[in-house]
């Protein structure tokens, strides 16, 4: 048996027309959500710069130059130099990687852990009390203090920073997933699947999880933004990434003692961090409004 070609010649104009209509609709949709577009463009720009750091950077980010310490911005050093004479432009370009890695990893880890625990709380009656009491306890400790305390008992590394930032974020996801699960559990298609004898993991995977994707993606975006800010905060307070990993937070921590004479050492990494977090927040706000307007009250 031979397959007929999917687009016979006579159907071609209709197809292009359909395509044109669809792309017009897409353009209209994009015009309706300027924050989303602005955020996405900004984010792609920052991510692109960080990925291209080896080619953009004018200097080795770790190379010391004792003769050019705390130099103000100039042609040779567009962002100036830090207290050890390292070129800040190159360091800022490289420093984005740490923030982006932390943001992405924490968002994925916290969401995954939150989904597992939240589904357990929502569908397994015996787990509910235990999980939710644990989450209440975790939520009572302020995020930053909990992250600081976790860093206090471990040695500073990229992994420990990621874990310390992830743990305080998990309860938020658990609460969201549990409340979604409680309402989805009552839906007729879930009851029907259960009546047919479908096993719980299959029900969760096929009928429950797909209905949670939108709020979870929005939530994960906000977690990524919070995580990047927290990483910078921890590094700034001296309990974050080890100094040999250039991150915007560690750069600002280095510049802290020289604010009065070399404000640029704090300003440039700070501006890049703020722009990145802003872009992620805009994407989150935009996705929330675009995908599900009802969510805007809950998150």
């Amino acid at each position: 048996m031979t397959m007929t070609s999917p687009a016979p010649a006579s159907a071609a104009p209709a197809a292009t027309e359909r395509h044109a209509r669809r792309s017009a609709r897409r353009r209209r949709w994009m015009r309706k959500h300027p924050p989303l577009i602005l955020g996405a463009v900004l984010l792609v720009l920052v991510a692109g710069l960080s990925l291209a750091a080896p080619w953009i950077a004018t200097h080795d980010p770790q190379a010391l130059d004792p003769l050019a310490r705390l130099a103000p911005p100039s042609a040779a050093h567009p962002f100036g130099t830090d207290a050890l004479g390292r070129d800040l432009f190159s360091r800022v370009m490289w420093g984005g990687r740490a923030s982006l890695v932390v943001g992405l990893t924490v968002a994925v880890l916290a969401t995954s852990a939150g989904v597992l625990l939240g589904l357990a709380a929502g569908f397994v009656r015996r787990a509910d009390g235990l999980v939710m009491r644990l989450m209440d306890g975790l939520m009572a400790i302020p995020d930053i203090l909990l992250a600081i305390a976790l860093m206090a008992v471990t040695r500073a590394s990229l992994t420990t920073v990621i874990v310390a930032i992830t743990v305080p974020q998990v309860p938020r996801v658990v609460r969201l997933v549990r409340s979604l699960a409680l309402s989805l559990r009552e839906q007729q298609y879930v009851e029907a699947a259960r009546a047919l004898g479908t096993r719980l993991p299959v029900i969760l995977w096929r009928h429950v999880l797909p209905n949670m994707v939108t709020p979870l993606v929005v939530q994960a975006t906000f977690i990524a933004a919070t995580a990047m800010l927290t990483e910078a905060l921890l590094s700034f307070l001296g309990v974050g990434l080890p100094p040999q990993i250039p991150s915007w937070g560690t750069m600002m921590a280095d510049g802290r003692n020289f604010v009065a004479v070399a404000f640029h050492a704090v300003l440039f990494p700070g501006l890049f961090l703020a722009a990145t977090v802003l872009s992620v927040n805009l994407v989150g706000d935009g996705l929330r409004d675009a995908l599900d307007p009802r969510l805007s009250r809950q998150l």
């Binding site: 009491r133 644990l134 209440d136 306890g137 975790l138 939520m139 009572a140 400790i141 302020p142 995020d143 930053i144 203090l145 909990l146 600081i148 305390a149 976790l150 860093m151 206090a152 008992v153 471990t154 933004a225 800010l229 910078a232 905060l233 700034f236 307070l237 001296g238 309990v239 600002m252 604010v259 009065a260 404000f263 704090v266 300003l267 700070g270 501006l271 961090l273 703020a274 977090v277 802003l278 927040n281 805009l282 706000d285 805007s296 009250r297």
Partner: protein, 311 residues
Amino acid sequence: MRHLLNRVAATLPVMAVVAVLVFLLIHLSPGDPAALIAGDTASADDIARLHAALGLDRPLWSQFLLWAGRLAQGDLGTSIFTHVPVSRLLAQRVEPTLSIALLTMTLAVAASIPLGVLAAHMAGRWVDRLVMLFAVLAFSVPVFLVGYLLIYGFAITLGWLPVQGYVPLSKGVGPWLSHLILPCVNLSLVYTALLTRMTRATVLDVLHEDHIRTARAKGLGVVAVLGHALRCAAIPIVTTIGVGIAFLIGGVVVTETVFAIPGIGRLVIDSVQRHDYPVIQSVLLLSAGLYVLVNLLIDLSYRLFDPRIRA
């Protein structure tokens, strides 16, 4: 009364979980807690002595009971680094932290409720857009960067306010307040953004309801209508104030570092670097306790705003 007791009883399991988590904290770390506390330069002998002194050779449950028992009597332990009781260390540091927290909260509430109501009233117009832009910016710019911008602008360049440090209230209200303005403005920005967004969203919701349309139809003025709406929106707003306490406590740690203020937040950071676990544990416990207490009070205050809420 029954309602009150139920609410208070509901906080006990939360605090119990917090206590277990805080206790387990030092035991979570890979390796010997005594070695961690003693630091990199300690000899095996030092570590062994510390091991016995901290009771680490007992079984875990017995350590926990001992610790929790002392805690119940109000004994927070002794700082490993300074050998001073933790409660005394905290008492020395509590004034600046409390000053920052209370002033920040006052500023934030005073700014955010009018802003949020205004934004809701003007929804979709440029005033609203501007307020929302401020909110998303405040959430995105790191607190300490704004702090340094404030120091650079108002203290170094203009010379209007002191750069850093803290003056106790007993030395006069003027100097005390002048040292607090920048840190509190700095910290209140994030809190204001959070509260403004919540106020705007809830007031906007209420404005679409029937009783508001009736109020408008019978010719009530804008201010009176917004007043009605605000009262209906009070519960979510007050709840956000309570949840925001966690934000505030975390933010204080950062502001105290930026403005070199010797408060509890600074103490925590110093204690992390000194591996002074009793201090860290106490601060975690107390801040969780404060959070739970404030949210309990807010929970109980709901009936003030909504007479329908009974036991």
